[in-house]
């Protein structure tokens, strides 16, 4: 067992609060767990050296940090600094509540198999529970900010409960100042006919170490639309689980990663079609430059009873350097016989036909290559339902991309 995990367990032993029962279970599991190595399938391409070597500490006092502004959007801000909840919205729209209380949903949507999920179970100091009342549509976006000061360690946890017929838009935003370490897990229960618009931005790079997950459970006719955008860092790992608990639910997941230098980014997406008539559409696109490494694992599990499932998983990658590495593994496990599923993964160079087309209009070959590479990921940004977020993140990605080209 790693020293880092031993310290985490020791710290957990000393924490006392209202989540004790669930925490005791997670702690017991954690004490028994095998620290992931190269031989652990879920961590095969993602070494944990960065965690083991991290010197990030739990700070007694943290500086005041503000989340990045997004033009045209005024969020309901739920802000954590170094793992401590520092601010809640002063006024909440009717039907929306945020409480620091025990929730029966805690650790029920996030599967037990995630090692760092268990760590988060026992170390997240402030667990926020967001509830949207039945039939309420919250217009203003809720933003969960996970801000980390230089050298800090922090663990945050949010549980979101969308009651029947409600709707909510949530942005998960992580910003680290450097040499930080965080785990950030969120659990979403999306009730009957409820609607979740979700974003997870993991744009902190450098020596920030971040492991986390967004986990969703959908009931009948529920709809979710999620966009995940990540840069790599010393270690950036996101797990997402989508579980269908009611029929005719529908999930769309778009994810983008853009890696440079020696960065590492790892996305594991798991979808459990446990009931019939649900639809999943996943589009994952990444660009890896320099000597970076991207890992994608997309599993869709269609259970025996999940007839009439429609599921599509598409992972496309562009390699910009011959030292960059992409490890992609789509997994379709189908136990029902009347389903429509497709999956594919490609690692490719730029589309030659499109390149020629641009050149015939007088665009130089090098500029055309740039336009097409950016367009390749911009296509998914264009699909983000909230235009202000797309307009905010597009130039950030464009700038990073332009820098990558220079090298």
């Amino acid at each position: 067992m790693s020293e880092w995990l031993q310290q985490a367990i020791a710290r957990a032993d000393s924490i006392q609060d209202g989540f004790e029962d669930q925490r005791a279970t997670s702690l017991a599991l954690l004490k028994d767990i095998k620290w992931p190595t190269r031989k652990t399938e879920a961590w095969k391409y993602t070494p944990l050296r960065a965690v083991e070597r991290s010197k990030a500490i739990f700070k007694e006092e943290s500086p005041e940090l503000e989340p990045v502004a997004v033009e045209g959007l005024e969020f309901l801000e739920l802000t954590f600094v170094d793992g401590q909840l520092v601010s809640l919205p002063e006024e909440l729209p009717e039907g929306l509540s945020i409480e620091m209380q025990e929730s029966s949903l805690f650790a029920t949507i996030k599967p037990e198999r995630h090692v760092f999920g268990l760590v988060n179970d026992v170390l997240a100091a402030d667990v926020a529970v967001v509830t949207v009342a039945e039939g309420v549509a919250v217009e203003q976006m809720l933003r969960i900010n996970n801000l980390l000061s230089n050298g800090a360690q922090g663990h945050i946890r949010v549980v979101v409960d969308l009651k029947a017929g409600s709707s909510l838009k949530v942005v998960e935003n992580a910003e680290g100042q450097g040499a930080s370490l965080t785990t950030a897990f969120t659990e979403y229960q999306i009730g009957v006919e409820a609607n979740l618009e979700h974003y997870r931005f993991a744009l902190q790079s450098g020596d920030n170490v971040a492991v986390g997950g967004s986990h969703f459970k959908l009931f009948e006719n529920a709809v979710m639309n999620s966009s995940i955008i990540g840069f790599g860092s010393d270690l950036q790992r996101i797990d997402t689980d989508i579980v269908y608990a009611g029929e005719k639910a529908n999930a769309k997941l778009n994810a983008i990663y853009l890696l440079d230098g020696k960065e590492l980014f790892d996305l594991h997406a798991n979808v459990e079609h446990a009931v019939p008539n649900c639809t999943t559409e996943e589009n994952i696109r990444g660009i890896a430059g320099d000597s970076s490494r991207a890992v994608f694992n997309g599993r869709i599990h269609i259970h025996r009873d999940a007839q009439k499932t429609l599921a599509e998983l598409n992972n496309r990658n562009l390699l910009m350097s011959n030292k960059a590495e992409i490890n992609t593994k789509p997994e379709l496990e189908i136990y029902a016989d009347d389903v429509r599923c497709a999956h594919g993964a490609t690692i490719a160079q730029i589309d030659k036909q499109a390149l020629y087309y641009l050149q015939t209009r007088g665009v130089s070959r090098s500029q055309a290559q740039l336009m097409l590479s950016f367009g390749f990921i911009n296509e998914l940004i264009d699909q983000m339902p909230t235009v202000e977020l797309a307009d905010w993140v597009r130039p950030i990605i464009r700038d990073r991309f332009a820098q990558m080209e220079v090298k």
Binding site: K352, Y357, T360, V363, S364, Q367, E379, D382
Partner: protein
């Protein structure tokens, strides 16, 4: 045959695709302001001509020469041919999701202006031009924001090609079966767009399988391309003749070239 007044001069052009000879001695001279129609059966090399002239990968020139305004076209990169004034309107324009039409058009126009030593347009100036061009080809302005040709219908793609032509102001436009897949109304919009761009300085090669487009875009010359070379040339009336007789006579009668031999 060619003189100082010739815009495009193709001499004894032989070209192949995947080692299969497609063009087998193509000759064509075009003066500024002329409209030439190239007709012919499938597989004659009509589309290949456009691809070879524009410099598409995989289209190998085996022998012969092509000059545009006296410059050796075949020596140039694809983008330099465009900057020299060549424009190919595609039969099947490529969809490029993620690259907005407006951004694409601006970069294309800027690249060509830069090559001609002209100043770049401001975004506002360009937007005004682009909106104007949209109107002329009957495309909603919202199409500027969409990905290049993304989800456009066949007709919308063709109109987008004509819009690009209007913005780029080329010297020589090759329209590769621009009428294919268009209904009469859409064809008329496309033809009006083309006609509005006719000028004493600008020349056109209208590649088409059918005569009907030539009712709208009146050619000065009509050529029949068969088996990689021009087998018959005439004025606009030749197109009507072909419409009535089809191309069957090509197989049964000796061609002009063969008679000359």
């Amino acid at each position: 045959m060619s003189n100082e007044n010739t815009l495009l001069s193709i001499k004894d052009l032989h070209a192949s695709v995947e080692e299969k000879n497609i063009l087998k001695g193509l000759n064509l001279d075009i003066k500024p302001g002329e409209v030439h129609a190239i007709m012919g059966p499938n597989g004659a090399g009509k589309s290949t001509t456009g691809y070879v002239l524009s410099g598409r990968d995989g289209y190998e020139v085996d022998s012969g020469s092509v000059t545009l305004d006296g410059e050796d076209l075949l020596e140039m990169e694809v983008e330099d041919r465009a900057r020299a004034g060549l424009f190919l309107a595609f039969q099947y324009p490529v969809e490029i999701p993620g690259v907005s039409n407006l951004e694409f058009l601006k970069v294309a126009v800027d690249s060509q202006r830069e090559a001609r030593g002209e100043e770049a347009l401001t975004s506002a100036e360009f937007l005004k031009m682009a909106k104007e061009a949209c109107k002329q080809v009957n495309l909603p302005v919202s199409f500027l924001k969409r990905g290049v040709n993304e989800g456009f219908s066949g007709g919308e793609k063709k109109r987008n090609e004509i819009m690009q032509m209007m913005l780029l102001q080329p010297k020589l436009c090759i329209l590769d079966e621009t009428d294919s897949g268009l209904d009469i109304d859409a064809m008329q919009v496309v033809a009006n767009g083309v006609n509005s761009q006719r000028s004493p300085e600008r020349s056109f090669i209208v590649v088409t399988h059918y005569q009907r487009l030539l009712d709208y875009i009146k050619p000065d010359f009509v050529h029949v391309l068969a088996d990689g070379k021009i087998v018959k040339s005439g004025d606009a009336s030749l197109a009507k003749e072909l419409e009535e007789q089809g191309y069957a006579w090509l197989q049964t009668e000796p061609t002009e070239d063969e008679l000359e031999d």
